[in-house]
């Protein structure tokens, strides 16, 4: 019995963001851009989608005079990621 893969997580950048955040308490925008190897615009777009799904919490602060965006995985996001991993394991017979 295969479950449909979560549509929020089933895109490359969003899955990469959540996979990075699962190991961390929090990470900023620049770090996520470096680790997910994507563009600023695309990362902003994907962060917005994850935030709308309440999978991540976005905190806007300032670093000196510049805006500093920090992302944290929520309990809902963690649960969704764990479910996603379980689901793809079934697809792959792991």
């Amino acid at each position: 019995m295969f479950n449909d893969l979560d549509p929020v997580l089933n895109t490359p950048v969003r899955l990469a963001i959540v996979s990075v955040l699962i190991k961390l308490k929090q990470a900023d925008f620049a770090y996520l851009m470096e680790t997910t190897n994507t563009t600023q615009g695309n990362l902003s777009h994907q962060i917005k989608k994850l935030s709308e799904a309440a999978y991540i919490e976005v905190i806007k602060t300032y670093k000196g005079n510049y805006p500093h965006t920090i992302c944290k995985l929520t309990a809902k996001g963690r649960k969704a990621f764990e479910q996603y991993v379980d689901d793809i394991k079934k697809y792959l017979h792991l």
Binding site: L5, L15, V20, L24, A27
Partner: protein, 190 residues
């Protein structure tokens, strides 16, 4: 990494998860500045305290402690304000809070001992030993584990030596059990 919203095949998803998780770095070493700063401040305070008390008639021989600890608090505060971390790992968060609580314990211990007209060095060696040993165990870094054990040994030793040498023992404990492993940790790839 693709920039579109295209959907993933299960195998692609697994590959992304594996790669992203393996790229996530541990940043315990990035906090080495504060770790080493506090080591030098405490070691310097102990040695200055010993020299002033043993070799001079200076009445405010205890002054290095409040002055250097206040300097440490100011520099730590400024460090955190000027460099909000890009990444905070759970381990880094835990260690930061551990040392914050131990720092408070140091001050409470000094206050209690001073009020009871005792020297705080033995209890401070136990607190420092606990922090160093726990840090070594969670980072799985043997020099820090040995350093923590050395703190405990010197804490016990301090009750068998003349009282005036207790600050010197704490200074030695910090230099050998905390600072030396701290520099090894900074250079290591843990």
């Amino acid at each position: 990494m693709e920039t579109t919203d295209n959907h993933l095949e299960p195998l692609q998803g697994l590959k992304i998860i594996t790669e992203a998780i393996s790229q996530t770095r541990e940043n315990a070493r990035e906090h080495s500045f504060l770790f080493l700063l506090w080591g030098w401040l405490i070691a310097a305070s102990c040695i200055l305290f010993f020299i002033l008390k043993t070799f001079t008639s200076f009445k405010l021989f205890f002054l290095p402690f409040p002055v250097l600890v206040a300097t440490g608090i100011f520099l730590s505060f400024r460090h955190y304000q000027s460099r909000p971390g890009a990444v905070q790992t759970y381990l880094g968060f835990y260690l930061k809070n551990l040392w914050l609580v131990l720092g408070i314990s140091f001050m409470v211990s000094v206050l209690i001992n001073v009020l009871q007209h005792n020297q705080p060095f033995t209890s401070n060696m136990l607190i420092g030993g606990a922090g160093t040993l726990v840090t070594g165990l969670v980072l799985r870094f043997r020099p820090l584990i040995s350093g923590g054990v050395l703190f405990f040994i010197l804490a016990v030793t301090s009750i068998f030596v003349p009282e005036q040498y207790a600050p010197l023992l704490l200074g030695v404990a910090v230099l050998t059990g905390y600072l030396a492993p701290g520099y090894l940790l900074k250079k290591s790839t843990v």
